[in-house]
């Protein structure tokens, strides 16, 4: 081994030991602080109570994880003042809960809204919170039988959860003739509960039962007129008897009407609309004269209604429209009696009774392409639309597909100028006061829709978040530019263009340093394209992820669609370091090559691949380098190229890049020394001291590069006086070690002396002579 190599090795050894100790410390710290080294954004499970009251302040306890250090709250409520509730012990410091005081104006409609929180670690998922004009009480947890039923005073709402294989019971007292409504809001709040309720008399006989009810999905409700004064019981459970703390319910009991929708189903944003509430028990509710301001965001309006003398409200949603809203003119149940339909616009109709068919007549021109889009269940109607477009002679022109879960769409091209009819009926031929529908009829336009796979973005300070955006195109194949709206300036977006025909992209956004940890923003991903002369834009939908997050809720509140919470956490921690071994990299003349290793020190459980690049090598020298694979600690780098480099040193650099939890990192080793050496190096090492009058072996070690494989002749330059040995030794082809035995004559003077050797070889037909580093030889007395 040459002196150089030895030195390097020892330095590396020393470094390694230090590094190892450091690594050990880091590992220990890393383990201890595993939850904090990387961002740990908050998560929300549910709210207690599950509803805030309009016109007053309500303290809402948010239950979840990583909630300590909450910095803010967001809700989809149009107006909502909020603050972290003062006076609550350790409020804001507990990981599992934090309490906020929400103060709502009295005019906030009863309904379901979205909320989310932020901490310095990021932003939470969105959860659903109700606004309810019924006071809330908590399930006491000891009400598992009729005998232990929890007593309630009506009207009231109970916030509780169902345990597995169990029931909850409540009891209340009612007078003869009293109308009692029961409504379980569970799945509509994103709960996993599939509730059933039973109303029982004082001896446990079932008076009424409700499971899935039209217009409210898996939730249930009923209204019952009390026949005899006395005590009544309510049983609530999951239909499958499953349960845990996430099987929550908000059980409303009172005098509220049971409305599911309105007729017509839309209020116009530019005019006053008169809406009638419809539902299984909504008779007697006064119509609503709705003035929906043009500035109302979104395309739905929360509405609530209660009886004149009532204490609790029903809640529904209506569409907020800018279209011409038209209403069917009964009778229109035959083609001859079709209601007129002006295009573009929306028609509102109702299947008055079973087997009711409604016809609408409209004029259209040859080549016109029209889209008929049904709306029923998303606005609370139980109907499922069956639609046809008919020619004037009654022949079928187009029919809505009825194989999926959509609400009915017809895409039709008009074959000739003339009159046509739209026929609408319930797929199941049902009818009734709440079987209302709305069909939007608009000219077809090319465009696209977008969907995104998350409803929150969390990035470290100055860090990156990514999301997958998918695209469904309608006769437009060109590029689509994505932007993030609501996050201010300074964002750096990559992957924000869907190229021609592309159906998906991974959007990659880097936050500017100005976004501090703890900040909460509400943003949207918007796609834009110029299609013909039209600037087309649309917001990426989050409905898919919301449905999943809300236990399969088919129609989450529409105003949450596309709303994405954006939060920033702390700086992302380091997660890898690099080192070269040896630190001074030899490069052999004549053969033109050398090798070294790049070693990675992985931190914070980082285990992914590290990509490497080598830059700054002398001209004519190249590096063959691969990535350090997932889970590996090092990789070899081979240098090759020009053979005629002069001996000397050059500096080059190695660049490593990796991504961990979407956060990129680049590490540069920028002062690696490349030392140009001869292709054969020789080193000598005595096995021990040479004793006067005795013998000792000197080990010879060769280092060969490239093709320097031939025999090497090694001889000492000058032996000390009295020390003898062979004139030279030859280390055979392919061998790297040899031994030379020295003998010290009896008169040899003891002491230390330096010994050096010269190696001579032929490499690529060129004689190469190289000297070893001098070696200290100790000569001792016997």
């Amino acid at each position: 081994m040459t002196r150089l190599m030895r030195a390097t090795a020892s330095v590396w050894t020393m470094d390694v030991s230090l590094v190892c100790f450091g690594l050990f410390l880091c590992a220990v710290i890393g383990i201890v602080a595993a939850g904090t080294a990387l961002a740990d954004p908050p998560s929300l499970s549910y709210c207690l109570p599950a509803a805030a009251a309009p016109g007053k302040a309500t303290d809402i306890k948010f239950i979840g994880g990583n909630l300590a250090g909450a910095t803010g709250m967001w809700s989809s409520l149009p107006t909502c003042a909020h603050e972290m509730t003062p006076g609550v012990e350790q409020n804001g410091t507990k990981a599992d809960q934090v309490t906020y005081r929400l103060t709502l104006p009295s005019e906030v409609p009863v309904g379901i809204y979205g909320v989310r929180l932020a901490t310095t670690e990021g932003v939470s998922n969105v959860r659903l919170l109700m606004v309810d004009d019924l006071a809330s009480v908590a399930d006491n947890g000891a009400n598992k039988s009729v005998a232990t039923a929890q007593e309630l005073s009506l009207p009231v709402a109970v916030d509780g959860f169902c345990e597995a294989e169990s029931y909850d019971f409540y009891k209340f007292t009612a007078v003869a003739g009293q109308r009692v409504s029961l409504e379980c809001v569970a799945r509509r709040l994103g709960s996993q509960l599939d509730p059933v309720i039973r109303l029982l008399d004082s001896v446990g006989h079932e008076l009424a039962y409700s499971d899935d009810e039209p217009g409210i999905g898996a939730d249930c409700r009923l209204a019952y007129r009390i026949k005899q004064a006395g005590v009544y019981f309510v049983e609530i459970r999951d239909i499958r008897y499953v349960g845990d703390a996430n099987h929550r319910y908000h059980l409303r009991i009172g005098d509220f009407p049971l409305a599911t929708t309105t007729y017509p189903m839309a209020g116009n944003k530019q005019a006053t609309s008169r809406l009638v509430f419809c539902g299984p028990d909504a008779d007697g509710l006064p119509p609503l004269n709705l003035v929906a301001a043009a500035s109302v965001p979104g395309d739905q309006l929360p509405l609530s209604a209660k009886y004149a003398d009532g204490q609790g409200s029903a809640f529904v949603r209506a569409a907020a429209s800018r279209l011409s809203e038209q209403i069917e003119l009964e009778p229109n149940d035959t083609p001859e009696k079709s209601s007129p339909l002006n295009l573009p616009g929306a028609i509102n109709g109702r299947f008055e009774q079973a087997n009711d068919r409604d016809y609408f007549q409209f004029d259209a021109k040859k080549g016109q392409r029209l889209i008929f889009t049904g709306r029923t269940r998303s606005l609370g109607s139980p109907s499922d639309l069956f639609m046809r477009v008919l020619k004037a002679d009654g022949g079928l022109l187009a029919e809505a597909e009825d194989s999926g879960v959509d609400e009915g769409v017809i895409d039709v091209s008009i074959p000739a100028d003339g009159s046509y009819r739209l026929m609408v009926e319930d797929l199941l031929r049902r009818g009734g006061p709440d079987h209302v529908y709305r069909v939007v009829v608009e000219p077809y336009s090319a465009g696209f829709s977008l969907a995104i796979d998350t409803e929150r973005f969390n990035a470290p300070k100055s860090g990156v978040f990514v999301a997958k955006v998918t695209c469904t195109r309608r006769d437009y194949n060109g590029p689509i530019a994505l932007s993030l709206e609501g996050a201010g300036d300074g964002l750096v977006l990559t992957g924000n263009t869907l190229g021609e025909g592309a159906k998906e992209t991974v959007l990659n956004v880097t936050l500017p340093p100005s976004v501090e940890p703890g900040r909460l923003m509400n943003v949207r991903v918007v796609g834009r394209a110029k299609i013909g002369d039209v600037e087309f834009q649309t917001t990426a939908s989050t409905l898919g992820v919301l449905r999943t997050a809300f236990s399969g809720l088919e129609y989450p509140p529409a105003d949450l669609d596309g709303a994405i919470g954006l939060g920033a956490g702390p700086l992302f921690p380091e997660f890898f370091e690099l080192a070269a071994a040896p630190a001074i990299v030899p490069y052999a003349q004549i053969v033109g090559g050398g090798t070294f290793k790049i070693q990675a020190k992985r931190l914070n459980k980082f285990d992914e691949k590290v990509n490497l690049a080598v830059e700054g090598l002398p001209p004519g020298v190249t590096a063959k380098v691969a990535a350090i694979d997932k889970g590996k600690g090092e990789v070899d780098v081979e240098l090759s190229g020009v053979a005629a480099l002069a001996e000397g040193e050059h500096v080059f650099r190695v660049i490593g890049t990796a991504t961990y939890q979407n956060q990129p990192k680049r590490v540069v080793l920028d002062k690696i020394v490349l030392r140009v050496v001869k292709p054969v190096q020789v080193g000598i090492t005595p096995v021990g001291a040479l004793v006067v009058g005795g013998k000792q072996s000197i080990k010879v070690q060769l280092t060969r590069y490239g093709d320097a494989k031939g025999p090497v002749v090694v001889r000492f330059k000058q032996l000390p006086l009295g020390v003898t040995g062979p004139a030279e030794v030859t280390i055979a082809e392919g061998k790297n070690e040899g031994t030379i035995e020295l003998a010290a004559a009896a008169d040899t003077l003891p002491g230390k002396t330096l010994l050096a050797a010269t190696a001579t070889a032929s490499v690529k037909d060129r004689a190469v002579t190289v000297d070893s580093e001098p070696m200290a030889l100790e000569i001792n007395k016997p």
Partner: protein, 828 residues
């Protein structure tokens, strides 16, 4: 003495081994034996009747059997054909050969039938003798092959045929058969130049080796038909050739009293051209109960034993039955009128008297209380309930108890279990949530006593979400048209029509066209995903027709015994089907349900199996079945009314103890039928006796086995005792067979062991409460058997306890023995 009374502890123990002892016996087995053809005692008939009353023979090949019946002063009738002298008045026109009138030449004559001093003249017209008599392919060759069984399922009618020769099963596919017979095998099967050399004739006559053996003799009418058809060129029938539109059999029904015990049947086929042909020698025959009567290839029936038999007559796809009853004096039999509680008893006792079967005595109160609890609510009475009933002196207490039980929620829960089986409620069929929702709907329908026609209508016309409208799950389990056809037919018509999916039903009247015709009512049912995971939406499309796969013909909706239904337009065709199904005159609907209820309560259906109505499986008491069905319809399909009627009858309340005159009766309801408790009944009963509840995964504590919404709880004990997996809509899936595993479960299975040894079980609670042995034993008996123990039983038990050295262990033994006793294990 009690039926199951233990006279020793050893007897109690030996009862354990009797679980599998309940073996089926044949009716009147002691009288069964080989056919005995006794001479006819003609006696002195008041008059004789000859069928057919006149004869027209319109081709040289026509023949006509004459069946002669004697009618007597006491109302009796018998077949005198084999004792009748038949004389042609003009043998140049027609002659008589072995009771068959044969044409000779065109003209008219008469045949005189003389017997018992009576004579009837039968006019005979012979025409068409100068014309060649072409043998029809379908009504000649194929009938002949069917008659000989060549195209039966076991021979060349199997899907893959036999020996490389495949025909359609019982000639349902004429096009296939002509191809097979004439074109295949290098024309060797039929040789028109040398008909006798045809393989079709040489093989069944064993002139060349035939794997099926000798199937045809040259003397058989079938040989002549086949030979002549081949000789005439092996032609298929012309498209406008006359078709057989129906067959008649004579007599359709008749009662014979020994010595009368034989009957020559006459089978006439009516054709679309108005001709009527005697096909007695070409039709195929089978007896529904060969222990009662046999029938030979020529339609000659021989009664063997007391009882009834339906003789099924099949001519191609046309079928009819002849219902015959055979009576015989039983030595020592003396009828005594038993009290009749309602029409059920009238009908049952009428039949018993006719067959000279003496009904058993009414059961004791303790037997009744246990029986009616198990039958109506599926569980044992509690000790207090049993004691209260036994102590009640009210003569109307049985009726009161029946009414009380029918009003209990357990009634709906127990019967929902039965319907859960039939409607195939289980997670894999309707999803976990769907099981609970559907089960709840069934239970509510039963609790509210939803009229059965409404129940069927709600199921069969259900649409919408399977979650919001649980009966829509009917079309989730029946996931496609064919399943709908088969399930609906079996559940609501009692027709097992599955065979007709691929070919005409080999044993019944149902054809492949019928199968797909019923399917046309359901073919428009569509299914699409609902809004929630696992939810399905069922709806009826506005169009969609069924194509018969064999013929490629678009099928019109078809109703059994009614024919094609003309249902144009976009309406949901299921409405029309259900309107027909639930109409008062539907011959199947009401009968199937009352029979199902009867079968549950009595242990055997009037038609057995209860969902297998067919001509060849006649009801054991047709009058009773008709009467029950009529009453059911008149009471607006009120199932509780049917239950109440049957439960209040003396017939239901008879003892299971037999007498000398009914010991071999298994189908006329002369005594109660003992049967092993169902899996769920048994497990609940064990829990009741031990007072240790069973816990089922995913269901609240306290849930009983009879409340289970589906078998997904995966309880081994229940499976061993026959809990069905609910894969089919057939009641037969619930096994009632006993087996060794059951015995092992009861003797040393972990479930019984753990409950008997449970620290908080009934016997330990009683011991802790300071009860003495007799008191504990008495309560165990009341809990298990609904009766107090006899003195002998107490003595046996107390001796055993004393001898065991450990009182608790001794009581455990008594409890264990009770659980293993027949009296506990069986409904009786």
């Amino acid at each position: 003495m009690r039926l199951f009374q233990f006279t020793s502890f050893a007897a109690m123990l030996s009862a354990v081994t009797a679980i599998a002892a309940l073996a089926a016996t044949t009716a009147f087995g002691e009288e069964s034996g080989a056919a005995v053809l006794e001479p006819i005692v003609v006696g002195t008939p008041d008059k004789i009747d000859v069928q057919p009353p006149q004869i027209k023979l319109d081709t040289p090949r026509r023949r006509m059997h004459l069946v002669v019946s004697g009618m007597y002063a006491d109302g009796a009738m018998q077949d005198l054909s084999r004792a009748t002298e038949l004389i042609s008045k003009d043998e140049k026109i027609a002659k008589v050969e072995h009771g068959v009138v044969v044409p000779v030449a065109n003209g008219t004559t008469q045949v005189a039938a003389r017997v018992g001093g009576k004579e009837v003249m039968v006019p005979v017209e012979v025409i068409g003798q100068e014309r060649p008599d072409q043998v029809s392919f379908q009504h000649g060759a194929l009938v002949a092959l069917s008659k000989q069984g060549c195209n039966s399922g076991a021979c060349h009618g199997s899907p893959s045929g036999k020996g490389g020769f495949r025909m359609s099963l019982r000639a349902y596919d004429e096009a296939l058969d002509i191809e097979t017979l004439v074109r295949e095998a290098f024309n060797r099967r039929t040789n028109a130049y040398e008909p006798a050399a045809s393989l079709l004739l040489r093989k069944p006559t064993m002139e060349v080796p035939h794997g099926g053996g000798m199937k045809l003799k040259k003397s058989d009418p079938a040989y002549e038909l086949l030979h002549d058809w081949i000789a005439q060129g092996c032609h298929a029938d012309a498209a406008d050739a006359p078709k057989c539109v129906k067959v008649d059999v004579f007599p359709r029904q008749r009662i014979y009293k020994r010595p009368a015990h034989t009957q020559q049947l006459l089978v006439l086929a009516h054709f679309s051209d108005g001709t009527v042909r005697d096909v007695t020698n070409l039709a195929c025959y089978s007896s529904s109960d060969e222990a009662v009567a046999t029938v030979d290839a020529g339609g000659f029936v021989t009664g063997l034993d007391r009882g009834e038999s339906a003789i099924l007559v099949r001519y191609l796809e046309k079928m009819e039955t002849s219902s015959l009853m055979f009576l015989k004096e039983v030595e020592g039999f003396k009828w005594s009128d038993a009290p009749k509680n309602n029409f059920v008893d009238n009908d049952v006792l009428d039949k018993l008297r006719q067959l000279q079967i003496l009904p058993s005595e009414p059961c004791a109160d303790d037997e009744f209380v246990r029986r009616v609890y198990l039958d109506v609510i599926g569980e044992l009475p509690t000790v207090a309930e049993a004691q209260a009933f036994l102590a009640d002196a009210d003569p109307a207490k049985r009726t009161k108890l029946i009414d009380s039980l029918l009003g209990r929620p357990e009634y709906a829960e127990f019967w929902a279990l039965k319907w859960g089986d039939l409607l195939r409620l289980r997670n894999s069929k309707v999803s976990a949530a769907g099981v609970h929702k559907f089960h709840r709907w069934i239970e509510a329908a039963l609790r509210d006593n939803m009229p059965y026609d409404q129940f069927a209508r709600d199921l069969l016309t259900a649409d919408g979400s399977t979650f919001a409208n649980p009966p829509a799950n009917y079309f989730r389990t029946a996931a496609e048209t064919n399943d709908c056809t088969e399930t609906t037919s079996q559940l609501f018509l009692g027709i097992r029509i599955q065979c007709a999916k691929c070919h005409n039903h080999p044993f019944e009247r149902w054809t492949q066209d019928n199968y797909y015709g019923i399917g046309a009512f359901f073919n428009r049912i569509q299914r699409k995903p609902g809004g929630s995971p696992d939810e399905l939406v069922v709806w009826s499309a506005r169009s969609g027709e069924v194509t018969q796969p064999r013929t490629g013909k678009q099928m019109k909706p078809w109703l059994p015994l009614k024919g094609d239904a003309d249902l144009p337009g976009e309406d949901d065709r299921r409405d029309a089907f259900v309107n027909w199904l639930t109409s008062a005159d539907n011959p199947f609907f009401a009968k199937v349900e009352v029979n199902r209820i009867w079968g549950h309560l009595i242990g055997r259906g009037i038609v057995e199996p209860v969902d297998d109505f067919r001509d060849s499986n006649p009801p054991s008491n047709a009058v009773l079945l008709d009467h029950l069905a009529k009453d059911f319809v008149e009471h607006k399909f009120d199932r509780k009314h049917v239950l109440r009627t049957i439960l209040n009858s003396r017939t239901y309340q008879v003892s299971s103890r037999k007498n000398d005159f009914n010991k071999n009766d298994v189908k006329y309801f002369s005594h109660a039928t003992t049967r092993l408790l169902s899996a769920e009944q048994l497990l609940d009963a064990i829990c009741r006796v031990t007072d240790v509840a069973e816990k089922y995964a995913g269901l609240p504590a306290g849930t009983r086995a009879t409340q289970l919404p589906s078998p997904d709880v995966d309880n081994y004990f229940l499976k061993v005792f026959g809990q069905p997996a609910r894969e089919t809509a057939c009641q037969c899936e619930r096994s009632s067979d006993s087996n060794l595993s059951q015995a092992l479960q009861m003797i040393n299975g972990p479930l019984v062991h753990s409950k008997v040894r449970n620290e908080k079980n009934r016997l330990r609670t009683l011991v802790t409460a300071g009860k003495n042995d007799k008191e504990v034993i008495s309560e165990l008996y009341l809990a298990a058997l609904s009766r107090p123990p006899s003195d002998a039983e107490i003595e046996v038990s107390t001796k055993h306890i004393a001898a065991s050295g450990d009182r608790t262990r001794g009581l455990e033994d008594v409890c264990w023995a009770l659980l293993n006793a027949n009296e506990f294990l069986f409904q009786h």
